[in-house]
């Protein structure tokens, strides 16, 4: 987790540097994320795909996102990524870790099939221990059944 936090800090620092430059230069400058960064992936590609309850099959919306991720990874060929599988809180812990790994593998396999080198992708499962939505309702659970791609 520390690595991830450091990564975010570095990216924020880069962003800050960017906007400082923008402030001193003339004319309108887009202050979007640094191309090829995690923020770029999140904002312009989509860093995560979602799964149905207790499933690891890639839905059509997930395939569209992963197609874009594959293209982005081919463009930014120096980027290695981690794909983390996650589950909602409505399952038992050990099973959810294995299910999260299934989801991470499903996303990884798709990226590899689209031409991304398998060596650039690591996978992990957090089971239900790293939810992004903190509520206890269907909407939160749907958000937490995911595979999240992050630049390492």
């Amino acid at each position: 987790m520390n690595i991830k936090i450091l990564g975010t800090v570095a990216a924020v620092a880069l962003l800050a540097a960017c906007s400082n430059q923008a402030a001193t230069s003339t004319g309108p400058v887009s202050s979007g994320p640094v191309p090829g960064s995690q923020e770029d992936l999140v904002a312009n590609v989509g860093d995560r795909v979602f799964f149905d309850l207790n499933k690891n099959a890639l839905r059509s919306d997930a395939r569209i996102t992963l197609e874009r991720q594959a293209a982005w990874l081919q463009k930014w060929s120096a980027n290695n990524v981690q794909v983390a599988g996650n589950c909602d809180e409505r399952g038992t812990q050990a099973y959810n870790i294995a299910l999260g790994q299934r989801r991470a593998n499903a996303a990884r396999d798709f990226l590899v099939a689209k031409g991304v080198a398998a060596t650039r992708i690591t996978t992990i499962s957090y089971g239900k221990d790293r939810p992004t939505a903190l509520g206890s309702n269907e909407q939160a659970w749907a958000q937490n059944r995911n595979a999240i791609t992050s630049v390492r």
Binding site: E89, T92, Q93, L134, S136
Partner: protein, 471 residues
């Protein structure tokens, strides 16, 4: 004098005071059975000492035994009087929490006899059926001698007399040992008070949850955090000798099973696996650990020596099924685990050497986290039916399923070493999008489904594992 419980506490028998015959268990049983109709020491349920796979609810519903536990008397000054009060408090709390005893309110006590022989009439009049007396005597330095006697009020007999010599710092442990003796002598089965519980202490918001390995006495005292929280910790289990824990840790962002030595604090990754390793449990002989490793789309059950070494694969993830949460039968001959090989999570039993597995869960819903009772007669599990989570038990052949507790979320039963009490954890739903309202608590319950009690822990708690009794 017998050395026991490491070298900390030694024990000697105490003859009954002059004029009293000390009664062995056999005599007591005969006496109690004969007196039951006349209101003697009521021994709830079946005959004592009978080892049976049958659980009857009779015993649970029987009236708890009213027992008087006055303060142990301090002898020789110092802090002996305080120790005597504290020990009586721990014993009283243990017995009352079991649900099988009722500690009589001290305000009702008529007299606390000064001599070794109680004034039975004074205890009888307040309804006591059993009485605990004792004294704490300084032995110089930090050593004390604790004398304890257990009395049956109606027949006016001493059931047990024992003296313990221990260091002052071991007073709490001594009180647990005495509690176990009382429990065993009056109920005919081993107690579980001189035990500890390892669990996971949770704190912080759930998207950045800190999960630490923690340990406490079975009554919630002596809580200690064993890891600093820098890595997620999950699913700790006790080694049969109680000196090592196996658990899962996300150290270096690499989720694997570790062993943690309680004496030295040293931990070690178990084996060198490609996939995630999870849900460990020790074999009853303590030489091996059984756990799951992810491979491909599934996970499989593997057996590995405690010190690491060549793993043996007992199920095959090649078909893509998730096999997790294996647990040995107490005789080491069989393994129960959960698998979704049939479509969804169900319980299966196979030989300890692997091979064909037989499904045993056939009720409504999904079944998970099986754990075999130390008595061998039951398997406890988590069941998920229509969005409701439940803790239940069934016989090892799948028959006789009973649900003990259900709610929004419960998981992970663990048996007390006598197979009589189960601990699990319960979570409450968040009531808003920020996760407020979420709690996670340890809960204990009698296997008959009565006497449900929430444990007090310093933080949120989950993943309990009950230790065995000391060898």
């Amino acid at each position: 004098m017998t050395r026991m419980h490491g070298d900390d506490i030694s024990r000697e028998s105490l003859a009954a005071p002059r004029g009293f015959a000390s009664m062995g268990r056999r005599t007591l049983l005969a006496g109690a059975a004969g007196l039951a109709a006349g209101g003697g020491l009521i021994l709830p349920g079946r005959a004592l000492g009978q080892q049976s796979a049958e659980i009857t609810v009779d015993r649970a519903r029987a009236e708890p035994i009213p027992i008087a536990i006055p303060n142990l008397v301090g002898v020789g000054g110092g802090d002996t009087a305080q120790l005597g009060r504290d020990m009586a408090g721990v014993i009283s709390n243990n017995l009352a929490r079991s649900g099988l005893f009722r500690a009589i309110d001290r305000a009702a006590f008529v007299a606390q006899g000064a001599g070794d022989v109680p004034n039975f009439a004074n205890w009888k009049v307040i309804g006591a059926q059993a009485l605990v007396t004792g004294k704490v005597e300084s032995q110089g330095g930090d050593r004390v001698r604790v004398e304890f006697r257990l009395w049956d009020i109606l027949p006016q007999t001493q059931i047990q007399g024992t003296a313990y010599t221990a260091t002052t710092s071991n007073w709490r442990r001594s009180a647990h040992i005495i509690s176990d003796v009382i429990y065993e002598r009056l109920l005919g089965e081993k107690g579980y008070f001189d035990t500890r519980v390892v669990y996971i202490a949770g704190s912080g918001p759930r998207d950045r949850r800190v999960k630490r390995l923690a340990i406490m006495d079975q009554d919630g005292e002596n809580n200690r955090f064993l890891t600093d929280g820098s890595a997620l910790a999950l699913s700790p289990r006790f080694h049969p000798t109680r000196d090592q824990i196996a658990y899962m840790s996300y150290v270096n962002n690499r989720p694997r099973v570790y062993t943690f030595d309680l004496g030295s604090g040293r931990q070690q990754m178990l084996g060198n696996f490609e996939g995630i390793t999870l849900s460990p449990r020790y074999a009853p002989d303590g030489n091996n650990i059984i756990m799951a490793q992810t491979r491909g789309a599934g996970s499989e059950i593997v057996l590995i020596p405690v010190g690491g070494g060549a793993p043996r694969r007992l199920t095959d993830a090649g078909g893509g099924a998730i096999d997790v949460s294996p647990c040995f039968s107490p005789d080491g001959q069989q393994i129960v685990f959960e698998s979704d090989r049939g479509g969804d999570q169900q319980l299966y039993v196979m030989s300890a050497s692997g091979g064909a597995a037989k499904r045993i869960s056939f009720g409504q819903g999904r079944y998970a986290t099986p754990v075999w009772s130390p008595r061998g007669d039951l398997i406890a599990f988590t069941r998920i039916t229509g969005g409701i989570f439940a803790i239940g038990v069934m016989r090892p052949d799948g028959s006789g399923e009973r649900i003990l507790s259900e709610s929004f979320y419960v998981e992970g039963p663990t048996f007390a070493p006598n197979g009589r009490v189960i601990m699990f954890w319960r979570e409450t739903a968040a009531r808003d999008a920020r996760g407020n309202g979420f709690t996670s608590r340890l809960v204990s319950i009698d296997i008959t489904g009565f006497n449900e009690r929430q444990m007090t822990t310093p933080t949120d708690a989950s993943d309990p594992a009950w230790s065995p009794l000391p060898a």
